[in-house]
Symmetry: C2
Subunit: 700 residues, 2 copies
């Protein structure tokens, strides 16, 4: 079809697309033939909404309409519907003059949505909508710009893939698609009467386990004539064991890979092929998990978790920079009013949500999104504030899951780690309040931040042990030294120089302190270690830990990996065989660590209007890559002799590097900041700065 | 089927059945082929819930299951589903010992609900449910006691009705069903290709208007063989104009009357046949409108309005005493959290909701219901309290509809009528708080009631005019004398004897004060006039106003009736021909007035544990009737010589009457209270008390 003069688009009630979609996808998880709904409240879109728009037309105009739902058109406040033409296309005449058109839409399956286009006017961001709750708000829309493409179907891309290998086994075949993939399976020219049984496996062992696999389907065939048949629900797998009932035959198996089309705007190559492979596989892992939302893992849970998403967003910022997924995920996680329990029922996961919005704003500079979610951000914060104890701190309520990490620890009372997350959340809320012009909120949240930070340090900082202790329960301090609060304090830049040193030596690098075993918290730990300058240690760890999975034949990175576990139990988790997710978003952590600490690129002001580049070779001969920003990529090359940085298309950067002698630069303002440290100001958009470091004696 | 040892029943999340059903029925209204969704937020049931029950079994037990939705069974906190048998009947083995069974159910069309029964245990009120929001609450259930009868279909009764008359007209027929009815229409042995067009009319004129009627349907026929065809949506009508496309034929028209089975527990007969007819037709009018909920009118709006329901409940209390409809209606009106706008968007309608719960409790004594809705009652009250102005009074916000009545009046600022409704609501909240043991709430609401009542009288009582003035706007008193605040103050017993006299003479019986023209507010006015002793006036009015509709051929009572309007415009309303509802619940008001003020029966303590009977002949030769109570009916007979009262099956009544001489009673403690007034204590359950009044010289 041709676009109309003005670009019309499908419109709906804000946040309802994400909330509706989230409910729909959250119940697709299956465990051995049974549904697995999430363990938190699933919110629903409004079913009855009213759109409005005032037209001021010099000529009467014919509006072409398509509505997702039943609808009625009203004009200028009258209670009597105005008739519309139903065939061949739905349309209504808008008379000349100033008229307010309202459209009531009801839909209890999909979101109520509409599309209208005329010669001069159509549905766009200037329309308003109400859920009949006393408030009119601007409509939301996305990329549904065609009248024939309503928002009921998510705009995925598809590729048909052939098996990499098909192996006969007793009573069936094993199909191997060569690497982890996601989608449906088709049997071409299937005939006979009965079922085709599919047992999916992220590992060969899982597929071979038949009904011991996490997911399996039966596809009914009932035709003497050969017909193509396709499974109805998407699954994550690399292998499928296929068994057919007697008399069933088919010509060929195909897989329809379903994915979100995304560009890999981030890039990385270096002199170590293993690290390159880790980066590539990380990108594939993340891509599989970025779809309608940023999921934890596509086999399991295929749910949206706020803590997992917090990591995933950071990784995305150094690879796809696909921010629509991020926004959908944050909206879905936040859900609807009233807030009755923490996000995902986990206290820390509510707090990670604030951190995610903060990271989102820092990396994108998208104030419009902050503005749109600010009221819900405030009510979520009020929920938290209402749950403070007399000391102004958060303790778990009986219904709260106080998580922090899968590790033995005291979870009762005031945990230092939770207060740090809370403090950072308050700090973010104060920032947002300021940005959206809520000066009262800014002052209040700011004051609460300061007071909580003071409480945390007064109670929990232990000079002797050189770190923040675990917490307090029923008035008694728990002086256990665990890494969590110290990781957070480091990440949030809440430590002074002396405290940083103490935390590095006495906590994070202290073998006597309980080790962190989950990749989830390991992400934050490695992040903190980089912030403390432990790059070499971190990237050695990346090579070993992620490399270990490669050695075991992984084609995507796992939810968890412990080299000490025997191979036959590597896929077990939560007490069940094959329950471990072998394609888990947080497994893609190396992308973030490499982008932020090896290529060394990070925004210092929202949206990369100011940014920093501080590349480090970390023992490699050369590194090269790109980091996406809202406005172009920042390209970095470094070897012992030179650094090349291409600035993004706007923004002002600072390149920080060391050089024993005086470096030679092709442009820009160079400042020696002391010792062998230099800063080069990157002010020319898209310009390639080149820095000659001399004779390779760079300390990096 | 046979019931199991214990009575199992379908269970679901509390209030969700009502909220789901309300959404479903609220969008059935049609206007000339277009949908008419209500102008308020429609709430939805939770789609994902989890039921739980701990069993303590000496023997293993087989539980037979039926679930409305997809589901998974889990036991004892494990994340691994327990398998269940799917055929021939769904069942699961519960092992002996103490085990907690949880059942996650997901359903996005109907409410998630389940039924389970075994030898010793099944789904009943001891199960709990959560919407995954951190709270476990006891499940709700109703009369769905059979495994094959899930709550998806409302348990209506049906009767097949034949037309009273079929008249040929140009190109079709007019079918008359003799009186207003409701349901679907069947065409037996229909054949041919095309449509049967039905134009419904509550009046003949409406049916004759074709597409000018409020509702019409087309039934598609596409069969050479004669097949029975039935319309898909229920409609309200007495007449139908039927036109068929060429070649369509059918053998017979039938109507399937759909109704809620209810017993007419209230009765009334008297020496005036016209009043008897008015009572009968009122009962029919109310019955048509009492279904899933108490509707305003079944043609229009077929919506649930809080103010309308407040009247309907009172009428129901003197006729069907069907309290399940009342409960469903109150739950549906209240909806879900958060409260964002007034009920039905109308400020007064929020306040009527509190009054309805109060009336419900007074007439039924059902504390369990009060307890179950108390948290939502509190949050609705908090919503109101948060909207008070500095003077502690309610003024309309821009999004509020300040209704009071369809009449010209100032609606801005502090209206005395609204404050009176608010004050009464606070008083009810204080009562409920006390009853459910919330002593803090009781004290708080009690104090607020007193303070507001004091404010109302200080500002708005005008001694000179002898009544409450209209209100205050921007600090300026509006001294207009309107009936509304004075009606409310009378009804709420907020007037002292002198004020009552003043209000009667100077306001309610003052022809210079703006007349009330709507049956809605007229109901409250007549109620107030009865409370002021104006029985004769009120029942003369009942004869004339309701009798006037009878004279115009009504078979049910109307939304509005003005004798002054010419016949050809009697069915117009809101600027549209035939928009008036001719079967409107509030049209049944005479039942209430007769029961409460002629038979004279009313509860004085919750649930008729204490009650009063004060019959009045109001100029008739004899009156006779029954008034339903939670525990049996109170029967009353009176003529000039005697009164007979049969006490209900529990409770203690006081019969109040006048007698010139000393009355003779067959039982009970008689007290002369002064003048010719007597009180007889009715303490014997179900006993018929007889009072001889002497020679017919009773003043009644």
């Amino acid at each position: 079809m041709q676009d109309h003069l003005q670009r019309a688009t499908w419109i709906w009630y804000p946040d309802d697309y994400e909330i509706w979609l989230h409910q729909k996808v959250s119940v697709l998880r299956q465990f051995r033939g049974y549904i697995c709904p999430p363990s938190w409240r699933l919110d629903a879109a409004y079913t009855s909404v009213k759109f409005r728009k005032t037209f001021d037309l010099t000529e009467p105009e014919l509006l072409t309409l398509s509505v997702q739902g039943e609808f009625v058109l009203l004009m200028d406040g009258s209670m009597t519907p105005i008739p519309y033409k139903k065939t061949p296309i739905t349309s209504v005449h808008i008379p000349a003059g100033r008229h307010e058109l309202t459209v009531n839409v009801y839909n209890d399956r999909e979101i109520p949505a509409m599309y209208a286009s005329g010669a001069t006017c159509g549905t766009d961001g200037t329309w308003e909508v109400t859920a009949l709750n006393g408030k009119w708000v601007p409509v939301a829309s996305w990329t549904f710009h065609h009248i024939e493409q309503p928002p009921a179907a998510f705009p995925f891309s598809y590729e048909t893939r052939q098996p990499a290998a098909v192996t006969n086994i007793d009573g069936g075949v094993i199909v191997d698609f060569g690497r982890e993939t996601f989608g449906t399976v088709s049997f071409l020219e299937a005939s006979g009467q009965g079922g085709i049984h599919l047992y999916y496996g992220e590992s060969l062992e899982e597929a071979m386990a038949g009904e011991g696999a996490e997911t399996f389907d039966t596809l009914a065939v009932n035709s003497a004539e050969p017909l193509d048949r396709t499974t109805s629900v998407t699954r994550a797998f690399r292998y499928i064991q296929i068994k057919t009932d007697p008399g069933i035959s088919y010509a060929q198996i195909e897989h329809r890979y379903e994915y979100l089309p995304m560009e890999r705007r981030g890039e990385f190559r270096c002199s170590d092929p293993r690290l390159n492979e880790i980066w590539e596989m990380s990108a594939h892992t993340l891509h599989i998990n970025m779809r309608e939302f940023l999921y934890d893992g596509m086999k399991r849970d295929r749910w949206v978790w706020s803590g997992d998403a917090n990591l995933g967003f950071l990784i995305n910022n150094y690879s796809f920079f696909e921010q629509d997924v991020a926004k959908r995920t944050m909206i879905a996680l936040r859900g609807k009013e009233p807030v009755e329990i923490h996000i995902n029922t986990i206290m820390d996961y509510t707090l990670y949500w604030f951190l995610s919005v903060h990271d989102y704003y820092l990396y994108t500079g998208d104030l419009a999104f902050v503005r749109s979610c600010y009221p819900k951000l405030v009510s979520l914060m009020e929920f938290c504030l209402n749950r403070r104890n007399e000391a102004g701190m958060l303790e778990g309520y009986p219904e709260d899951w106080v998580f922090i990490d899968w590790a033995p620890m005291e979870r009762r009372g005031e945990l230092a780690a939770e207060q740090l997350l809370f403090c950072r959340s308050l700090e973010a809320a104060a920032l947002f309040a300021g940005e959206v012009g809520d000066s009262e909120g800014e002052a209040r949240y700011g004051k609460l931040t300061g007071r909580l930070r003071e409480t945390i340090y007064r109670l929990f900082w232990d000079d002797e042990q050189g770190g923040l202790i675990h917490g307090r329960y029923e008035g008694e301090l728990n002086r256990q030294l665990l890494k969590y609060p110290n990781i957070f304090a480091t990440r949030f830049h809440y430590l002074d120089e002396g405290q940083r040193e103490a935390v590095r030596e006495k906590v994070l690098k202290n073998d006597a302190v309980q080790k962190i075993n989950t990749p989830f918290m390991r992400f934050y730990e490695l992040d903190a270690l980089c912030l403390l300058g432990e790059h070499d240690y971190v990237f050695q760890e990346v090579r070993e830990y992620w490399g270990g999975m490669l050695d075991l034949g992984a084609t995507t990175f796992w939810e968890e990996y412990d080299p000490a576990i025997p191979a036959e139990r590597q896929y077990d988790m939560y007490g069940d065989k094959f329950r471990k997710s072998l394609c888990h978003a947080w497994g893609a952590a190396p992308i973030y660590l490499i982008g932020k600490y090896m290529l060394g690129v990070k925004p210092t002001e929202p949206g990369y209007s100011r940014y920093q580049v501080e590349p480090k070779l970390c023992g490699l001969e050369w590194i090269e890559g790109k980091v996406p920003t809202p406005d172009g990529e920042i390209a970095v090359y470094m070897d012992a002799w030179r650094i090349r940085v291409t600035a993004n298309d706007s923004g002002i950067g600072v390149l920080k590097f060391k050089c024993a002698g005086r470096p030679i630069v092709n442009a820009g303002e160079l400042t020696a900041v002391g010792g062998d440290e230099y800063e080069l100001l990157l002010t020319s958009p898209s310009y390639e700065y080149e820095i000659e470091l001399g004779r390779g004696d760079v300390h990096a």
